[in-house]
């Protein structure tokens, strides 16, 4: 029944490793997002996809690569993890962004800790 689900909820890994976070939404939305929330609680957008097409790509290192196999899924792969990547990553979805929907539905977050 979960509207936006992301896995895993917790990730602890060593510097230099590669990791992936998966996200799925069952709301029938067309637009999906990845946000990063740092230790000061600021939420910053990283990427947005609309029906598998990339529409927002903020200033994010190339080590971060999103992939959207279909409009219900948006995964995030991170290469060569660094200490500064430690944060909570939130997946979200909304109606088609061109319709001006500001209501985002967020997942519960994936807490990434890089040692």
């Amino acid at each position: 029944d979960t509207a936006v689900s992301q896995t895993p909820k917790y990730l602890v890994t060593q510097m230099g490793n590669d990791k992936s976070i998966k996200c799925e939404q069952n709301l029938g939305h067309d637009t999906m997002y990845w946000y990063k929330q740092d230790s000061k609680k600021f939420l910053k957008i990283m990427f947005s996809y609309n029906n598998k097409e990339l529409i927002i790509n903020e200033t994010v290192p190339n080590r971060f690569s999103p992939k959207s196999p279909d409009k219900a899924h948006l995964n995030l792969h991170i290469n060569s993890l660094e200490l500064g990547d430690s944060a909570v990553y939130f997946c979200a979805s909304s109606q088609d962004w061109r319709e001006g929907a500001g209501e985002l539905f967020f997942g519960e977050g994936s807490r990434l800790t890089v040692l």
Partner: protein
């Protein structure tokens, strides 16, 4: 670039003690101002959207208002279950796609 500043950072209230949270924003043109609630270990949950100065929205003990420079979230007679972090976000006319710019939030603790 769109900017959002929320104050105070933290607020401790006694149950029943009404208060207001502030969200100051700078945008080239406002397409929407949004309030979200975030509980510990959870994702933000949508509360309100405001589009133009003078607009107000209410939900239970919460009331959001909007001026040309700021928004207030008024909590009337809060209960312990209102304890959460409240996030404000804006979407400006120059923002790509559906990009929202969030403030740092106000952590509210309501004591019984």
């Amino acid at each position: 670039e769109d900017q959002v500043t929320q104050s105070p950072e933290a607020l401790r209230l006694q149950e029943g003690e009404s208060s207001s949270l502030n969200c100051s924003y700078t945008v080239s043109g406002l397409r929407g101002l949004f309030w979200y609630r975030q509980d510990p270990g959870k994702g933000p949950e949508f509360l309100f959207t405001l589009y133009s100065a003078g607009e107000e929205k209410e939900k239970e003990r919460l009331k959001a208002t909007l001026t040309k420079k700021e928004s207030f979230l008024h909590i009337t007679a809060p209960k312990p279950e209102d304890s959460a972090t409240y996030l404000c976000a804006v979407r400006g006319i120059k923002a790509a796609g559906n990009k929202l710019t969030f403030g740092g939030g106000t952590r509210v603790l309501v004591k019984p």
